[in-house]
Structures are given as structure tokens and as C-alpha cells.
Point group: C2
Chain length 336, copies 2
């Protein structure tokens, strides 16, 4: 037990040199079928497995990519992960996941896997770490991809949806349904997405000649509790509104809870729209209108690019991808 065979063991038993065993293992064509068969037999017989650390040290790569997400239990993130994993596996890369629980320190800690070369590259989804930190790590030659925002660095591939655009779509939809007083629960004030979503919200109001009322905007922390507190603050202001646009579905859950407690009917008294197409939205009563982003595809596309960049040394001509979202109209904004 706990006995591990090495290449020299295989070589000795097969009557060949370690180099030949290595060639067999790495599919080098320069080995006769006969030798290959002989070596493979011994490998199976002994149950030989290469020692990753030795291999990594020698080859200076690990064939592992990391993924950092704020919360794996959120389906938005887990779908991105699935996209990443499937493409990565098809390219012989392994994937390791880090759930930061929205903890910036943990994010930094995981980035150590990059700088200690435990992983060959990393994808950060909606990173908390400052742009400067990320850029500086990339400057040191480490490979980082970003989902959800755009960084200005020629070696950082990014993929994102057009926040301005879908934010406008949401407002258009609500206006079409007859709403003119539309509250907005935005994400944390310093999140990049929040700027763009606010911009879309304002732009759409303008197009419809609806005056902007700053008191109809609140910020939340992207969690259920944040949405709950934000909607209560909005109600407290006494500025009437008939619809609320929540920057994600989690916060919309908080809106549902507040409405249930206050006896406010959705959508009759308040229309609600979220973002993310969280799985829970479909099961709510009424089901939640939301913006569906192509999560799986975003993960898949980005990791493909990242792996390409690891292997070619040329810089990417095509570094920033923007993908379209889709508005899923459901019960929470219908039937008025």
C-alpha cells in the first residue's frame, strides 16, 4: 500500500529505457508498435500512473484552468461553469472551481494558484478584485479571462452582455405594458454592471419622455435580503411606482417577499422584472419576467479563447466578446 511505481520501474520491467516509456506515454510516434505494446502491458500490469508534480515541473504546465465565482449555488454562475468545463475537458484541460462566497480575500488567495503555477490560467466571473490588481497580475505574464466586464489589457480576454441594451429592453417592455413610474433596484453602486444598467434605464426613460425621478432608484447587494431592504426603502419614500426593475433575480425574490408581507399583488399592483433567469423564477407565483443571458455559451467561448491564448503565443486579435440577452416575459409583468 502506498507504493507508487515510477517510470524507471516500468522501464526496468519492460527492458527498455525510461525515455522510451515516456515516449509511449506521450504518444510520440517514434516507437515501434511492438515496443509500445510491451511497455503498455507493463504499465497496466503495474498500474503505473505518472506523477503529476514531476510532469508539471518538467513541462512547466499543469493542464488545469481555474474558475472563480462568487457563489456556485447561483445558477447564473453554475451554468457558466458548465460551459467552461465541457470545453476545457474536450481540450484535455482539467477545471478547478473556487467559490469565494463573495469574499474578495478568497479570490486573491485563489489567484495564488496562478502565481505559484498550480494552474495555467484562470477565469474570473464577476470579480471583486480591483481592475488594477488584475491588470498587474496579467502584466506579470499570467493568463486571466473575465466574464461579465471588460478590462483594457491586450492579454485579457473578456466576454460580456450588453447591459445598456437589455436594460433598455426591460424598460421598453414595462412602458409598453402601460407603466410610467418604474422603480429600479440596481446592484451595488460600484459594480461595473450597475453603471451600464443605470445608463440603459435612463436612456429608455428619455426615449419615452418619462421624467427621471432619482428617488425611484435604490441599490442592493445582489442578494435576496438586499432586494427586500431596497424595496422597503422605495415604498417608504411615498413616491408612487407601478413597476420595479431589479438588477438580478435574487433581489427580485426579496421584492416578492416584501410584497407577500405587505399584501401587494404582483403584477396587478406591482410589476416585477429581474435579470439572470435564475431557476427559481420559473417556480414563483407569478413566474418572474427576467433577462436570460447565454451563460453556458459565455463560459464555453471564453475558456476556448483562454486555452488558445495559452498555446499560441500570438496576441489575440479578437479579445472582447459581446453576446446578446433575451427578455423572457412571464407572469410578473403581464396581465394588467
Amino acid at each position: 500500500m502506498d507504493i507508487h511505481f515510477k517510470i524507471v520501474d516500468v522501464a526496468a520491467k519492460a527492458g527498455v529505457s525510461p525515455a522510451t516509456v515516456s515516449r509511449v506515454l506521450n504518444d510520440s510516434s517514434k516507437v515501434t508498435p511492438k515496443t509500445r505494446a510491451k511497455v503498455m502491458n507493463i504499465i497496466h500490469e503495474l498500474g503505473y500512473q505518472p506523477h503529476a508534480a514531476a510532469k508539471n515541473l518538467r513541462s512547466q504546465k499543469t493542464m488545469i484552468v481555474g474558475v472563480i465565482v462568487p457563489d456556485i449555488s447561483n445558477s447564473y454562475f453554475s451554468e457558466i461553469i458548465k460551459g467552461i468545463e465541457n470545453i476545457a475537458y474536450s481540450k484535455k484541460y482539467k477545471v478547478v472551481i473556487c467559490d469565494t462566497a463573495n469574499n474578495e480575500e478568497k479570490e486573491l488567495e485563489f489567484l495564488n494558484l496562478l502565481t505559484t503555477r498550480t494552474i495555467d490560467g484562470v477565469i474570473m466571473v464577476a470579480p471583486l478584485t480591483s481592475n488594477e490588481t488584475i491588470l498587474s497580475i496579467a502584466d506579470h505574464g499570467y493568463l486571466i479571462g473575465i466574464v461579465g466586464k471588460k478590462l483594457e489589457h491586450e492579454r485579457i480576454p473578456c466576454i460580456l452582455t450588453d447591459n445598456v441594451k437589455f436594460s433598455m429592453q426591460v424598460v421598453h417592455h414595462l412602458v409598453e405594458r402601460g407603466h410610467r413610474e418604474i422603480a429600479f433596484i440596481n446592484g451595488s453602486a460600484h459594480a461595473v454592471d450597475s453603471f451600464d444598467r443605470l445608463e440603459g434605464y435612463l436612456k429608455a426613460l428619455k426615449e419615452h419622455n418619462i421624467p427621471f425621478k432619482p428617488e425611484l432608484i435604490e441599490n442592493g447587494n445582489f442578494h435576496e435580503s438586499g432586494g427586500y431592504e431596497a424595496i422597503l426603502r422605495l415604498f417608504a419614500k411615498k413616491t408612487p411606482f407601478t413597476a420595479v426593475y431589479s438588477a438580478n433575480d435574487e433581489m427580485a425574490l426579496g421584492v416578492y417577499r416584501a410584497c407577500a408581507e405587505l399584501g401587494i399583488q404582483i403584477p396587478e399592483q406591482l410589476a416585477v422584472v429581474g435579470v439572470d433567469n435564475n431557476r427559481i423564477g420559473k417556480y414563483l407565483k407569478p413566474s418572474l419576467t427576467t433577462v436570460k443571458q447565454p451563460n453556458y455559451t459565455m463560459g464555453a467561448l471564453l475558456v476556448e479563447k483562454l486555452i488558445d491564448m495559452m498555446n499560441e503565443d500570438e496576441y489575440a486579435e479578437n479579445r472582447v466578446f459581446t453576446v446578446d440577452s433575451e427578455l423572457l416575459i412571464r407572469g410578473s409583468s403581464e396581465g394588467r
Copy 2:
């Protein structure tokens, strides 16, 4: 860019030997505060980071534990992961997660990380891999922990809930609410849990002198669709029942969908009980009665044991943990 410093670089610049730098890095006490300070300065100045592969090769460990789960987007699994991560991090271990998407091959592939010594140990949650395979890997000296079932191997720590017990509780609860015809959507017929849950179901019926009707049992695949199909098969049989016990919440979602389509009222016409305390259950109308397992604790406890076993060489006296579950009674089984 892409320039990495090594221990010799630090040593040269600090005017000491590589050995001393290593001692500083590893907190060896045999180094004067003065030397330590000098070396640390250079380390920071150069931004030196140790090369993981070299370190792993030399020390024959990686300080990484793996976790294999069937589906990270299921909150049952993600909570277990959180428990594992928090304890592991506190003991300086890193955690890498594998989402198998219920794919046995992917599970096996990930176990290669163990046998190639990329990770020091692994926790398998509700593994698909056969017991023989797992036992044989453990026999080779690799460290595996299991959540959700018990394996007979002195080096495999396990943690599980008492399926028989909570299964009986579920049936007791339903009988108390006046139900006598209780259907059961069990998990896949060959899952270990399924045996025990069936046993609990039968035992409880017996205690209440309720005759067992085999036609009231169906098996599902633990997914929403499996529950949907199973309940349709049950309805098709025309054997009446007023309550259904679903082996997990996911499948209960399928029951909800079928009932919505057929106009069957929950709980008035059909009481529903699930297992797992999936987050979605709270948001359903009516909210779902379910069995809550201490997921976080199970992950935390098991990884603690696993890490202990990695470091002590003694075998564990206390290898199998059984934890209690709690029945959360909510709307789907109330108000008849």
C-alpha cells in the same frame, strides 16, 4: 513579462544560500530574525512566488483536496461544498471541485487527480462509481472520503444521515395528517439511499398497520423530469393516493408541475413531501415540506477527518459518522 524568480535568485540577491531562503519560506525556526528580515525584503521586492510543482515534487504532497459532486447547482451539494471549503481553508488546504453532471466517466477521470497525486485526497458526494472500484483505489493507499453512504474499508471515512429514520418520520407525519394511501417516488433503484428509504417507508406503514401496495411505488432519476414522469405513471395506475413522498425535492418539483397541468390542488388533493431542503422549496406555492439534512456540517466534519487521516498515519478509530435530519413541515402537507 513571464519572468519568474526562483529561490536561487532570491538567495543570490540576499547574499544567502537557497537553503536559508527555503527555511525562511517554511517558517523554520533556525534562522536569525535579521536574516529572515533580509530575505523577506528581497522576496517582496522580487515578488517571488514558489513554484508549486517543484514544491509538490519534493514534498510529495499538494495540500489540495478534491470534491466530487453530481451537480453543483443543487443546493444540497453546494452546501456540503461550502462546509468542506471552510474547514479545508482553515487548515491551509485548497479545495478543487468537480461537477460530474451525473456522469460516471467524469467521476473516474477526476479520480485520476488522486492517482497522479495532483490532489492529496478526495471527497466523493453521492458517488456513482461502484463500491469495488472505490475500495480498490483506497487499497492502493489513496485517501477517499464519502458523503452519503457507508463503505466497509478502514481507511475510508464516511458521513451519512439515517435514511431509514427520516423516511419513517415522513410517513408518520403524513399518517398523522390523516393520510393512509401514501405513494412513494424513490430514487434510482440501485442507489444505496433508495434501499434505506424504502425500508423506512415500509417500516412506518407497518407500524401504522397500513397495507403495503407495491403499485404505489415508482422510481425516478432524482431530477425534476424524473419526478414528473413518475407521478404521471402513478396517476395512470388508478390506485388512489392522497399523499406522495418524493425521495428528493427536485423530483417534488416535477410533481408540482404535473399537478399544475392536471389541475390537482396541493395539499388539498395531494400532500407532497420532499427531501433535501432545496432552496426552491421555500418559494413554491404552497411551500414544500421537506427533510433538512445538515449539509454544511456533513462536509465540514468529513473533510476534517480526512485531513487528520492524511497527516496522522494511525487508522481512524472513529470512521463512520451518522447525523440527524429534521423534518420541515410546510404548506405542501398541511391544511387538510
